[in-house]
């Protein structure tokens, strides 16, 4: 076999009109990547000071919250990110050690193959070669398909605005390009969030687990989830107790639609020819029938 399935399909894709058909593509970033940058959040080190929230608020020019960043009252409910807060800290009770609650930061995970970017029909959501998943507001048409697709429900929509945008963490992309670390990492007094390339961070995470086998659950959230994410977590208690989803699988999300998209050019090639053939047959059939009837 010299032509494997994928090559054949590719060939078919080129034959079919690829513009109309669309083409399943890995994000360009995933193919040409130097090495993605990411973030490792060690929840065992976080003290719940909310410095990251404050830094994020300032960095992105978000509206000042009603409750000040030094207040702990926000922990009474579980909060979600919103158009006005790209990262939020939640407090979870610790089954292992009740005196020591766990704080977990929630924000975009900057997936290696992001669902949001593969969903976006205008390429407003984009995976950059550096790793961050950024948002180009001038292209967005507000269809909110990215919200449907994101397994972690991160993109948020400005429902109360007549000129709405999608809002989410973009990993301080401008700072990154200027050689700086994200504002939240910079602000963390405990080193609970650290910045680095994904490879380095995975090494650090594994070393920590290896050296403190009793302190951590032996899993890095984001290492394999949805094909790997840029922001990863370490924890002392099972992740499902901290509000993490365990059902997102390890398949990169864009692959859920590749099967369909591969089929598209095939239909474009096969259908018209089948239809023309059928119509020809039917016409002849009709003619013959008429002929017989006349006789």
């Amino acid at each position: 076999m010299s032509v494997n399935r994928r090559d054949f399909l590719k060939l078919a894709g080129v034959t079919g009109c690829s513009l109309l058909a669309g083409a399943p593509r890995r994000s360009e970033a995933a193919m040409t990547s130097i090495e993605f940058y990411g973030m490792l959040i060690d929840t065992t080190k976080c003290i719940g000071c909310r410095s990251c929230e404050e830094a994020c608020n300032e960095q992105n020019g978000l509206p000042k919250p009603e409750v000040s960043f030094s207040s702990e009252s926000v922990f009474e409910t579980k909060r979600d990110t919103s158009p006005g807060a790209f990262t939020v800290l939640n407090r979870f009770s610790n089954g292992k050690n009740p005196d020591n609650p766990v704080f977990v930061r929630r924000q975009c995970l900057h997936c290696c193959q992001p669902a949001c970017a593969s969903a976006c029909l205008t390429r407003a959501m984009q995976k950059t070669v550096e790793g961050p998943v950024i948002y180009n507001k001038d292209r967005c048409m507000g269809c909110r398909y990215c919200m449907i697709a994101c397994p972690f429900d991160i993109p948020k929509f400005e429902y109360s605005s007549p000129l709405p945008y999608i809002r989410k963490c973009i990993f301080c992309y401008d700072r990154l390009k200027a050689g700086e670390r994200p504002a939240c990492v910079e602000a963390c007094p405990e080193g609970a969030s650290i910045f680095g390339t994904r490879r380095e961070l995975l090494e650090i995470a594994r070393t920590r687990i290896y050296e403190n086998p009793d302190r951590y659950v032996h899993r890095i959230y984001g290492e394999h989830e949805v094909g790997g994410t840029g922001t990863m977590y370490l924890s002392a208690v099972p992740f499902e107790e901290l509000g993490f989803r365990n059902d997102v699988g390890t398949t990169p999300y864009p692959e859920h639609t590749t099967g369909f998209l591969y089929g598209v050019p095939l239909v474009f090639v096969l259908w018209p020819s089948i239809l023309i053939g059928l119509s020809y047959l039917a016409e002849n059939g009709n003619k013959e029938r008429n002929h017989e009837e006349e006789e």
Binding site: S118, R139, C140, I148, P151, F157, T257, F260, S279
Partner: protein, 429 residues
């Protein structure tokens, strides 16, 4: 000198023609028939209020008029208007396939009205998408801009909507040409029909299934009984009986409302046609049921059937897929057109249920706060439907929708009497 006067003469003639045409259009714009009918009053009120609500929506944003939330980014404007509306518009590609490709001439008399309905459904229901977009003016971005999201199923669906609308317009345009009395243009567009049909069927296959494929990206958010890799195929197959049952429903109504516009061929064969369509429905329903069972076995979620969502799932499958198969079967055996019409309503209801299940009800079935539409969302949906009906009526009252072009009709065995032709051309309703 002479040439100049010739030129001015020609210009004057052209001007005259344009003026005549404008006058003709203006006269055609006037409503025909009674104005103060109950239907007009009710639908008129819905539309006027609806337009005001749409204005508020654009002035204050989506949050002010809808129950959409960060948890539920898509509500009934997408789940019902666009996704269900497009499924119901499927009748056009199925019938053009049957008539133009398979050459079943029996169905010829209802092709035009079905294509018209399909076209208007796309314009209005797919068009309702614009109400739901946060920045509708950017809808052109994936069409003309440098912003091609090639890996997005939605990109594909958007393009196909646009192209399919063009195809359907070409398929319908002979009727427009006849209305305007543009004989040459009619010949030209009539020649393009087959091409448009073939392209149209291909596009329909892809975007009907594409609407299902949109949800492939939400595996962890849709209840496992509804999520499967088969969604695209299921959407495609169900669009066949969705479309056909809608054709039956429409013809039930149009037969009553536009009785005097309907040509003899159609009137004589109406019952036969409906029974034939019912057979088509059964076939598609059966294939669908089969796929659903395979999917259930494949997914292996038997245990979930004994949960509330499972019962709901069974209602959809047993009540709105299996039962219609039985009812259609009985109707065909007894040759009962009534039962065919009733079952079509039932089937259509099942399609609505299925599309809403996938896009809204089984979507985030675990969420603590569920989405249900606001009254404004429902009102605006009704507005869109009423507007479509108005335009439909306007077209039917003016263009030869239920009868073939007299020239073409002559070729058929049943020649429509000239008086009849004259009547539909010049009568008001």
């Amino acid at each position: 000198m002479k040439r100049k006067s010739n030129d001015t003469g020609r210009a004057r003639k052209a001007l005259h023609a344009v003026r005549e045409f404008a006058r003709f259009l203006a006269s055609e714009m006037k409503p025909k028939g009674k104005i103060w009918t109950p239907f007009n009053v009710i639908s008129g009120t819905i539309i006027v209020v609806g337009i005001a609500l749409i204005a508020i929506r654009f002035y204050l944003g989506l949050g002010a008029v809808t129950n959409l939330s960060q948890e539920y980014p898509w509500g009934i404007w997408i789940g019902f208007d666009v996704i269900t509306g497009v499924a119901f518009a499927g009748g056009a590609y199925v019938l053009t396939f049957v008539v133009h490709i398979m050459k079943f001439e029996k169905y010829e008399p209802i092709v035009r009205v079905t294509v018209l309905n399909g076209f208007l459904a796309y314009v209005f229901y797919a068009g309702a998408l614009l109400l739901d977009l946060g920045r509708p003016w950017n809808v052109v971005n994936p069409i003309i801009g440098n912003a091609f999201g090639l890996s997005s199923v939605l990109f594909l669906v958007a393009w196909h909507f646009l192209l399919y609308m063009i195809c359907e317009f070409i398929e319908f345009s002979p009727a427009v040409a006849e209305w305007l009395n543009w004989e040459k243009a009619r010949r030209v567009v009539a020649k393009m029909t087959t091409g448009a049909v073939i392209f149209g069927i291909t596009l329909s296959t892809l975007h009907q299934s594409g609407l299902g494929a949109l949800f492939l990206l939400a595996p962890a958010k849709i209840h496992p009984l509804w999520y499967s890799v088969y969604i695209p195929v299921l959407f495609f197959v169900s669009s066949i009986f969705a479309g056909l049952s809608m054709v039956i429903i429409e013809s039930t109504f149009t037969h009553k409302v536009f009785h005097d516009k309907i040509g003899k061929t159609l009137r004589a064969n109406h019952d036969e046609i409906l029974l034939g369509l019912a057979k088509g429905c059964i076939g598609a329903l059966f294939a669908y049921l089969f796929l659903k069972v395979i999917e259930l076995v494949h997914g292996g979620h038997w245990d979930l059937l004994a949960t509330p969502m499972g019962y709901w799932y069974l209602v959809e499958i047993v009540g709105f897929v299996a039962l219609p198969i039985f009812l259609f079967g009985t109707a065909i055996r007894k040759r009962s057109v009534r039962l065919v019409q009733f079952t079509s309503f039932f089937t259509a209801l099942g399609v609505i249920l299925n599309r809403l299940n996938v896009s809204v009800i089984a979507f985030k079935w675990y969420a603590p706060v569920r989405y249900y539409p606001s009254w404004i969302e429902i009102w605006v949906t009704l507005t869109v439907i009423c507007m479509e009906l108005w335009v439909f009526r306007w077209v039917v009252n003016r263009m030869p929708v239920f009868t073939e072009h007299p020239e073409a009709a002559k070729v058929e065995e049943e020649i429509i009497p000239v008086a009849e032709v004259v009547r539909w051309k010049y009568s008001g309703s």
